[in-house]
Symmetry: none
Subunit: 210 residues, 4 copies
Amino acid sequence: MGKLEINKRLKESTLLNTAFEHFTTKGFSKTSISDIVASAGVAKGTFYLYFKDKYDIRNKLISHKSSQLFRTAVSTLERSPDWETLCIEEKIVRVIDNIIEQLNANQALLNFISKNLSWGLFKNALTSPVLEDDVNFADVYEQMLEDSPYMFRDPETMLFLIIELVSGACYSAILYQEPCSLEQLKPDLYGTIRLIIRSHQGELKPGRSA
Amino acid sequence: MGKLEINKRLKESTLLNTAFEHFTTKGFSKTSISDIVASAGVAKGTFYLYFKDKYDIRNKLISHKSSQLFRTAVSTLERSPDWETLCIEEKIVRVIDNIIEQLNANQALLNFISKNLSWGLFKNALTSPVLEDDVNFADVYEQMLEDSPYMFRDPETMLFLIIELVSGACYSAILYQEPCSLEQLKPDLYGTIRLIIRSHQGELKPGRSA
Amino acid sequence: MGKLEINKRLKESTLLNTAFEHFTTKGFSKTSISDIVASAGVAKGTFYLYFKDKYDIRNKLISHKSSQLFRTAVSTLERSPDWETLCIEEKIVRVIDNIIEQLNANQALLNFISKNLSWGLFKNALTSPVLEDDVNFADVYEQMLEDSPYMFRDPETMLFLIIELVSGACYSAILYQEPCSLEQLKPDLYGTIRLIIRSHQGELKPGRSA
Amino acid sequence: MGKLEINKRLKESTLLNTAFEHFTTKGFSKTSISDIVASAGVAKGTFYLYFKDKYDIRNKLISHKSSQLFRTAVSTLERSPDWETLCIEEKIVRVIDNIIEQLNANQALLNFISKNLSWGLFKNALTSPVLEDDVNFADVYEQMLEDSPYMFRDPETMLFLIIELVSGACYSAILYQEPCSLEQLKPDLYGTIRLIIRSHQGELKPGRSA
DNA sequence: TATGAATGAGCCTTCATTCAT
DNA sequence: TATGAATGAAGGCTCATTCAT
């Protein structure tokens, strides 16, 4: 990678970071391109060399940040000594919990992602990383399913239901303590997630034992 | 209510209707006050006699429309001969189903509501009607709980979980057929709702029988 | 006409005047709306209350200025004691000559009009005045034809040919002395105009004598 | 001409061609340098190695295209068996007619040339070819005059008047059918051209017979 | 000769809001 | 209560040109 190429990566990354700063601080629609480039220390025209428009940078940010949440969760959890021994239900709940805690600690990020996320964009984020080291969560999920001794009916819908539930619930509970605090919500929420998983769980795979 | 009072109500109502038309057609941020007042046939200044600003009319609209969804659902269902005999689980699923079908038939409305709804605004919509004949769903819900022979743990959270799940899932399934069509999603979705309800359902109330 | 109405007329007129100043000084494409409103002493938004865009004000200006050229020519010439006695050929040449002299004296105007004029716009200018007292040259021309004892074949094409010839020729001769000075060109030009007129001139009208 | 020299010519020619494509398709001011270089497949900076700026390439294009019109007309007509026998009046009318038909068949070119042509640039085009095989119309015209048995008063002005007349008239008639279609205009137009020529035509040259 | 990333002034236009009438 | 002319900051975006490589 030549010097010039590195420089370009750097610039794109700077723009993404400063844009994120502004989006989370004062919201997407109140952030202007001028704001972004001023903070990034580049000219306005430069912005348009890297991104088609404001929506483009937003979508790339969401993809990137979502991916990052999963990467952090997975790489943290994989280090727990008991990870490999856990059943899929437990694994999923732990991943969710880890992500929720990340969001709880970074409410600006939660606000930004929730307001701008759609399942389509999200699915995309999980499969096509923006930056090179973004994790591909789809692979991780598939591995979990494979490792499980059980078969699963419609794993995509299962994930979808879980994510929609979690994403709406967290937004409200973390940011507004509505209808209750996150801590109060968690048991119920995780209970519901387990119910969803179990209701999609089928028979033992041939030649496997629980 | 004097003639003048009626006239005012009429004007407010006209503004709400034309604003809704524009918001659902081209979105909130692309609708200008000019658009609204032009369609409503009043002067720009007049708008500000009825609403504080653009956000004000949007919020009132969401409240009103959400309320209307419930009112329509409940008043339709109450006419079914078997309504009174249904258990609460069945009642809730039917209400949800009715609303989902309304939204499926009116996707512009779904789009508008989903993009702009938050639990806080929503709860508000269900308890404090904007226009006089908007139903108070909180009362209906409470009545359902009272009619049920069972006790319920944390009914507000239960409703919250259900609504967050449904709202995210519908948005994606109806508008984008993601991760599957509405018809394909329904069994899973309603199954999950029933799981949530059952997991909150407690003992028989004293002196009641199932 | 109310005070407010007068004020609006005044503002439109001011905008037209300052726009003309800029267009003729530094050209259409190099004049910005900012330039215009700054000189006119109004806010930028105000411009758009009076004109759709830059093209709109340009077209209105051309119409207005073209009309004015004819009005000035005709009203000047009508005051000559011999005007009524002149034949149509002579009248037309005098009108053209008067206009050419106006343009010779106001080369910025010539430059502006020539670069932006098209026959369509021009015909429009001659028939539908922008401001109330703009003359309707079409009426004057028709009157000339009527007053003439001769019939004319295709008078619109005749006028068209004359105007296209004059407009191209003047532009070059006045502004660049190409292929010769205006004074040197005039005999030839007017000779050609007379030829065009005569070639369209037909028989005596019934019951008329030359 | 070395290989390198050829390569340069080729690049210049490619740039001219793609620029022409864009100018005629969407107009001069709406064509950007980016558009041109992208189509030409060269880098932006390269453009400035061949042309001073956007105006430079436009002017060169006009010169080239105008020249081409004449070259095509003359070389076509010279092939007619009767060409040598024609009088100058007839020759000029045929050249004009040929050019008009070329423009009628290529209205984008007409539009581009008319909007950007001035007598100065035009005269330049006819005398100083941009590319090597562009014809020098001035020579052809002079030859015509020489071949004619008649003397001509002020042949440059004569040509000037004809061209200004034709250029304005064609623009309007071909592109807008105003004030009438090209076919309807032609007799009048060519009649006028003949009148102009005849009015410049003088005595027989000494020692010549008609 | 050729490249193309970077520039940044400048463009047109929109629009929520105010206020004199 | 109602009007609608006026505001002017702010917006997103373009593009001719430069210059280090």
